[in-house]
C-alpha cells in the first residue's frame, strides 16, 4: 500500500509541473501590465512604478522570474497580489479557504446519500412506477445546469415564497440554496450510477446464494448487494468531485459567496493574476489528491485488489 501511494505521488509531479508552468505562462500571457493595474489609482508616477517593479521582481529576466516562482510556490508562497498591492496572495485567499471547502463538502455530503438512496430505490423497484418516475427526474436533474436551477429555486423560494435569502453566505439558511443547487446535478449522477450498479449486482450469483441461505431480504440487499454496489461507485467519486469543484465557480458567483471560485473569476477580470493562478493551482492539486485518496480507499475496501497489489511485489 505504501509503495502504491508513493508511486502515485511521484506520478503527480508531471501534472503539478505542468500546472505550474501553465499558470506562470498564463500570468505572462494575460493582457495588461500588472504595474499599471497596481497603479490604477495613481497617476503615472514613474518612480513608484519602477519601485513596484523591483519589489515584485518584474524587472528580472523571465527565466529568473520563473525559477523564483517555482521556488516560492513549493514553499507555499504565491507571491504578492496585484490588486491588493503589497498583500501576499495567501492573505487574500485566507477567507475563501474557509468557505469553498465547506460548500463543496456540504454539497458532497448531500449528493452522495441522496443519490445512493434514490438510485438504489429505483433499482429495487424496477419495472414499477417509482423507477420510471425516478428515471425521468434523474435525467432532468442531470441536464439542468446549476445556474438554471438557481434561477428557478431563487425565484420560487426567495422571491415568491420569501422563505430563503437570495444570496450571501454565513448562516444556515443562506447556505441551503447554494448547497442544494450545487449538489442536485451530482446527486442525479450518483443516483443513475448506483441504479445501474445495483441492478447489475442484483443479478449476481452470490445474491442468489444469499437468498438460498434463507437470509431475510433486507440483509440480502443491504448487506450483500449494496456493499458490492459501493465499490464501482467509488471509482466514479473522483470524477464527480472534480465536477463539483468546477461548478462551484459558477454557484459561488451567482450566489455571491465569498469563496475561492468567485475570487478566481473576479481576479481574472481585475487582472490580479497571481491570485487567480494560485487558486487554479490549488484546485488542481486538490483534485489530484482527491483522486489519489479515492483510489487508495478503493484498495482498502476491495479485498481482491489488495491481494493483487501484494501479489505484484
Amino acid at each position: 500500500m505504501g509503495m502504491f501511494l508513493a508511486r502515485r505521488l511521484v506520478g503527480l509531479i508531471p501534472v503539478l509541473a505542468t500546472a505550474i508552468i501553465l499558470t506562470f505562462a498564463a500570468i505572462q500571457a494575460l493582457p495588461g501590465d500588472p504595474v499599471a493595474v497596481m497603479l490604477s489609482n495613481h497617476s503615472a508616477d514613474l518612480d513608484l512604478a519602477s519601485r513596484l517593479r523591483a519589489e515584485y521582481g518584474l524587472d528580472q529576466p523571465l527565466w529568473r522570474q520563473f525559477l523564483a516562482y517555482v521556488g516560492h510556490v513549493l514553499t507555499g508562497d504565491f507571491g504578492l497580489s496585484f490588486r491588493y498591492v503589497h498583500t501576499p496572495v495567501i492573505e487574500v485567499l485566507r477567507d475563501g479557504l474557509t468557505v469553498s471547502p465547506v460548500l463543496a463538502a456540504a454539497a458532497l455530503g448531500l449528493a452522495v446519500p441522496l443519490g445512493l438512496v434514490t438510485g438504489c430505490t429505483a433499482a429495487l423497484n424496477r419495472n414499477r412506477w417509482p423507477d420510471a418516475v425516478l428515471i425521468l427526474v434523474l435525467v432532468a436533474g442531470l441536464s439542468i445546469p446549476n445556474f438554471a436551477l438557481a434561477a428557478f429555486f431563487v425565484y420560487l423560494f426567495s422571491i415568491k415564497l420569501g422563505v430563503l435569502p437570495v444570496a450571501g453566505w454565513g448562516s444556515f439558511d443562506r447556505a441551503v440554496l447554494p448547497v442544494a443547487v450545487l449538489a442536485i446535478p451530482y446527486a442525479a449522477q450518483i443516483a443513475r450510477l448506483s441504479r445501474t450498479f445495483m441492478l447489475e449486482v442484483l443479478q449476481q450469483d452470490y445474491v442468489r446464494t444469499a437468498r438460498a441461505k434463507g437470509l431475510p431480504e433486507r440483509l440480502v440487499i443491504w448487506r450483500h448487494a449494496f456493499r458490492n454496489t459501493l465499490i464501482p461507485l467509488f471509482t466514479q467519486i473522483g470524477i464527480i468531485f472534480g465536477g463539483l469543484i468546477s461548478t462551484s465557480f459558477v454557484v459561488e458567483t451567482i450566489f455571491n459567496i465569498p469563496g475561492l471560485g468567485r475570487m478566481a473569476i473576479q481576479s481574472i477580470f481585475a487582472r490580479d493574476y497571481p491570485v487567480a493562478m494560485a487558486i487554479i493551482l490549488m484546485f488542481t492539486l486538490f483534485y489530484a489528491l482527491i483522486n489519489l485518496a479515492v483510489d487508495a480507499l478503493y484498495l482498502a475496501v476491495d479485498p481482491r485488489l489488495r491481494s493483487q497489489l501484494t501479489a505484484r511485489r
Partner: protein, 331 residues
C-alpha cells in the same frame, strides 16, 4: 412405507417476459424418499434447474409456480408465506449452484459467509460459531481449515469454493440437498473429488440429494434413481440400474447410445437429430416426436401421459411398454 421427503404433484412453472408468459416446466411429478439420491438429467434449457429453483421458491420476480403443489417433509410449501419459507431455506433444504467462481460474495471471508447461515438459523455466534465453521470446513475436506476461515473467495480455487458452498449448504444439517450441476464448471479430477465428498456427506448425515446434471456418467456414479427431463417434462423416472440397462423412453435410449464406448468402432459419433425445442415453440403431441425414431401417428396427435411401467418406474411415451417388452425379447 415412510412418507416421501419431497413430493412434486403436477408442478408447472412459467416465466414472464414482455407481456407474455411462457411455461418452462409442465406438470412435473415425482417423489423422493428421505436419504435418497435422485439424479435429474437433461439438456441445457430442458427445465431441470427451474424445477430446483421452484422447490426453493427462488424463481425471481419473473417466474412463478403456475400449477401443482410441492410438499416437503409433510408440509405444502408452494403457498407457504415467505417468512416460513426462509426458515426452510438454508436450514431444511440446502442448495449448491453451478458456478463456484461467482456464487460467493467477494467482499466477505468464507468464514463469515458460512457463519451467517449458522447465525440466522441456529443462533450460533462468536466462538461457538467459529468452531462449528472450522468443523464444517474440515468435513468438506478443506486443508488447514482454521486458517482458511479468514480467506476471501478469490483466494481459493474453484474446487475449494465449491467445497465451501457445500459446507454452507450443509451447515444446519438439512434433510435435502439440492445440487444444481455442482461439478460442471470444474476440472474432471476435481469433479471426482466433489462427487466423493457428496457421497460421504450423505453417508454421514443421511441427507437426501437431488442432483441435477447433464452428465450421464455422474448419474451412473451417484444416483439411486433418475429423472430424465426433456423440454420441460419429466419423460422418465426409473431406478438407476434399470434406466441404464433397459431405458424406457426413446430419448433416454438415444442419450445412452450417444455416449461412445471404447469397444465401438465408429466413423461418426451418434447424435440425436434435431434440437431441443424452445418453450415458446413446442411441438404438438409428444414433445419429443420430431426427433424420435420410434414415433407413430399417435405421438404426433396426442401428448402422452406418464405411464407406470412397474418396478417403480414410469415413462411418458405411448410405446414405452411395447418397446420395453421388445427389448426383453431381444435378450
Amino acid at each position: 412405507m415412510a412418507p416421501p421427503l419431497l413430493a412434486l404433484d403436477s408442478v408447472s412453472v412459467a416465466f414472464r417476459s414482455e407481456r407474455r408468459e411462457t411455461e418452462v416446466l409442465s406438470r412435473a411429478s415425482f417423489a423422493m424418499a428421505p436419504g435418497e439420491i435422485v439424479g435429474v438429467v437433461g439438456e441445457s434449457g430442458s427445465g431441470k434447474s427451474v424445477m430446483a429453483l421452484a422447490i426453493m421458491r427462488l424463481l425471481g420476480a419473473q417466474g412463478r409456480v403456475s400449477g401443482g403443489r410441492i410438499r416437503f417433509d409433510g408440509q405444502e410449501i408452494t403457498t407457504l408465506p415467505e417468512a416460513a419459507m426462509r426458515a426452510i431455506r438454508g436450514r431444511q433444504i440446502g442448495m449448491v449452484f453451478q458456478e463456484p467462481m461467482t456464487s460467493l460474495n467477494p467482499l466477505f471471508t468464507i468464514g463469515y459467509q458460512i457463519a451467517e447461515v449458522l447465525a440466522i438459523h441456529l443462533g450460533l455466534k462468536g466462538a461457538a460459531a467459529e468452531r462449528r465453521v472450522v468443523e464444517l470446513l474440515a468435513a468438506v475436506g478443506i486443508p488447514s481449515p482454521a486458517e482458511r476461515v479468514k480467506a476471501y473467495p478469490h483466494q481459493l480455487s474453484g474446487g475449494m469454493r465449491q467445497r465451501v458452498m457445500l459446507a454452507m449448504a450443509m451447515a444446519c444439517g438439512p434433510k435435502l440437498l439440492i445440487a444444481d450441476e455442482p461439478t460442471t464448471a470444474l476440472d474432471v479430477t476435481i469433479q471426482a473429488q466433489i462427487l466423493e465428498l457428496l457421497l460421504r456427506l450423505k453417508r454421514d448425515s443421511g441427507t437426501a440429494i437431488l442432483l441435477i446434471t447433464h452428465d450421464m456418467g455422474v448419474i451412473a456414479r451417484m444416483a439411486e434413481r433418475v429423472l430424465v427431463v426433456y423440454a420441460g417434462e419429466i419423460v422418465e423416472d426409473a431406478p438407476v440400474r434399470e434406466l441404464f440397462a433397459r431405458p424406457g423412453h426413446p430419448y433416454t435410449r438415444l442419450l445412452l447410445e450417444a455416449v461412445p464406448t471404447p469397444r465401438q468402432r465408429l466413423a461418426r459419433l451418434p447424435v440425436i437429430a434435431g434440437a431441443l425445442p424452445p418453450p415458446s415453440a413446442l411441438p404438438q403431441g409428444c414433445r419429443f416426436h420430431p426427433r424420435c425414431p420410434d414415433a407413430i401417428q399417435r405421438c404426433r396427435d396426442e401428448a402422452p401421459a406418464a405411464f407406470v411401467l412397474g418396478g417403480g418406474r414410469s415413462a411418458r411415451c405411448w410405446r414405452a411398454a411395447e418397446l420395453l417388452a421388445a427389448m426383453e425379447g431381444v435378450r
